[in-house]
């Protein structure tokens, strides 16, 4: 569509405002992490790195980061190992059955996470299961499963069946066909969703909230810090997580680029 100069200018202006709305808060989050005083107040008067130093000495925090890494890694493994076969199953169903199954698998993504969390809590409680990192992994895997299934399923739908048939006509068995034909074509979607699940799981709070035992994850630790009061230490953690997210995205884009080349 040809657009006039004025509409182009209007859209640029609007986009600039919205980007400012998106990024000024992130800037604020980072800026306050370098503030010297404990009380967050504007304008920032003294600058220091003391809150980053404080992070390194905060054992509870470091432990919670370790727990979050464990949970996120386990979630990636579980959602990939279960999600890919789920997507394969969807592909081979047709009509109403496939749509119904897809909708049901998607539910935990649309139902607010705290509902899923408390639903699982009720079941685990009745089964007398002790809450631990394992129960957090269970809950989060259910919540993030739809992401993997939809991403992989979307890719599978674009995949031509003829390719796999050709492979089998040429003498490959089903397993070989899956490994050498199907898997390479869905690889980018598997990697992409794995990265997404990792970051989302690392930041997840509502499900974790209900399923946490004695060991905290990072968001749970931040949550309990927020209850006590806000300090620049939280901003220091925030800055690091933003940085890690950006690095993960760039990594994801790199992988995608080398795949398509």
């Amino acid at each position: 569509m040809r657009s006039s100069y004025s509409s182009r200018a209007a859209f640029r202006f609007a986009a600039a405002l919205i980007f400012a709305f998106l990024y000024i808060p992130i800037g604020v989050l980072v800026a306050f992490s370098f503030q010297e005083s404990k009380i967050l107040s504007w304008p920032i008067e003294g600058w220091s790195l003391r809150w980053y130093a404080a992070l390194l000495e905060n054992n509870q925090l470091l432990q919670s980061i370790g727990n979050s890494l464990k949970v996120a890694t386990a979630c990636v493994l579980v959602t990939t190992l279960v999600g890919v076969p789920l997507a394969l199953a969807l592909r081979h169903l047709t009509g109403g059955a496939a749509r119904l199954l897809e909708r049901t698998i998607l539910m935990p993504l649309i139902v607010p996470q705290l509902i899923t969390g408390l639903a699982l809590l009720l079941i685990l409680n009745r089964a007398n299961v002790q809450l631990s990192l394992l129960t957090i992994i269970l809950g989060q895997s259910i919540v993030w499963m739809p992401l993997v299934v939809t991403q992989v399923y979307a890719r599978l739908r674009g995949l031509e069946v003829e390719l796999e048939q050709a492979s089998m006509d040429l003498g490959a068995n089903r397993f070989q066909t899956f490994i050498f034909v199907t898997l390479p074509s869905i690889r980018t979607s598997v990697i992409g969703s794995a990265l997404l699940v990792f970051t989302l799981s690392f930041d997840e709070l509502p499900v974790t909230f209900f399923l946490t035992g004695s060991e905290n994850t990072l968001p749970m630790h931040i949550w309990s810090m927020l209850r006590i009061g806000i300090t620049p230490e939280i901003n220091a953690i925030a800055s690091i997580t933003v940085l890690v997210s950006v690095l993960l995205i760039l990594l994801g884009i790199r992988i995608l680029k080398s795949e398509t080349r």
Binding site: L86, T94, M168, P219, A238
Partner: protein, 295 residues
């Protein structure tokens, strides 16, 4: 699978595939239907002073419908979710349009800039508004220079406004990405054809482009509505005692109040709302897409 096409049957009937399908059904039954079903059953149970008993009573639902407090909380949550959805949809659409048509050679950079917030912690993105809108916050410091006293700015934090601002902030990129994906799929030839046939830019937009983006917009808006409706993080960080949302009440039932059946009944209210919203937007989306099957 009677409808399986011939071209697929060779792959379709493999035992591994069958195993996948059975596994999928088991997965859905055990990890999706069972938990949500169990909450529903639990919402009819009875709570004594110290114990919870299986029963079939409607007391929990009666309590929700009879006490004005709970009705107000539900209405407030619906209202906040609706406001968040509308504002995010408008801003997200503008953003997607900019990205698709006006970003020029910086398109990839802008796209990444839109994704970065999505990959950043929900909790921290809500928290930052406490710093911006708070009593010692940036807004009140800036306005303070113009002689506004912090007391006049009480409405900023601990209000529905702060909850809506934070949730919009969290969800705008989400809508933008959904709409952008839809916009990118529209072939240029289509809008050119519309222009060649004499339609104005506005006419082309409303009759050709916009309807094609509706499914993406609806899908994004549905998720935004449902997740805002059931959010407890933002209201408990940024809302005052007047602005509690349904998720906060649910949490308190599972915490201090220790009334799990009542909490479950509130959870069922959320579940039903989500299901109603999802199926109605789904129906709308299919109705709109139905007329355009040719594409």
């Amino acid at each position: 699978m009677p409808k399986t096409r011939v071209s697929r049957s060779r792959l379709g009937l493999a035992p591994v595939t069958l195993l996948c399908c059975v596994g999928a059904l088991l997965y859905v039954a055990a990890f999706v239907l069972y938990p949500y079903g169990h909450v529903t059953v639990f919402s009819f149970w009875e709570k004594d002073l110290y114990s919870i008993r299986p029963a079939f009573i409607l007391d929990n639902y009666q309590r929700i419908s009879e006490r004005p407090l709970y009705l107000r909380v539900v209405m407030n949550s619906l209202q906040v979710a609706a406001m968040v959805t509308v504002v995010s949809a408008v801003l997200g659409y503008v953003m997607a349009w900019f990205l698709a048509h006006h970003s020029g050679r910086w398109k990839n950079l802008f796209f990444i800039l839109l994704i970065v917030p999505l990959w950043t912690s929900f909790l921290l993105r809500a928290y930052v508004w406490k710093i911006i809108l708070g009593r010692n916050g940036i807004i009140s410091a800036i306005l303070g220079n113009f002689g506004v006293v912090p007391e006049d700015l009480g409405f900023l934090l601990y209000s529905d406004l702060s909850i809506v601002i934070a949730l919009v902030y969290i969800f705008v990129p989400f809508i933008a990405i959904s709409v952008y994906a839809a916009l990118e799929k529209i072939p240029v030839s289509l809008t050119e054809a519309s222009a060649d046939l004499g339609a104005s830019a506005a006419k082309t937009f409303f009759h050709v482009v916009f309807p094609l983006t509706v499914p993406g917009l609806l899908a994004g808006a549905t998720i935004v509505f449902c997740l805002s409706f059931g959010d407890f993080i933002t209201p408990s960080l940024l809302g005052g005692s007047e602005n509690i949302m349904i998720a906060n009440v649910i949490i308190s039932q599972f915490g201090a109040a220790f009334d799990w059946p009542f909490g479950s009944a509130l959870a069922v209210v959320v579940l039903i709302t989500v299901l109603v919203v999802v199926s109605s937007t789904d129906w709308m989306g299919r109705k709109i897409a139905g007329g355009r099957d040719a594409l």
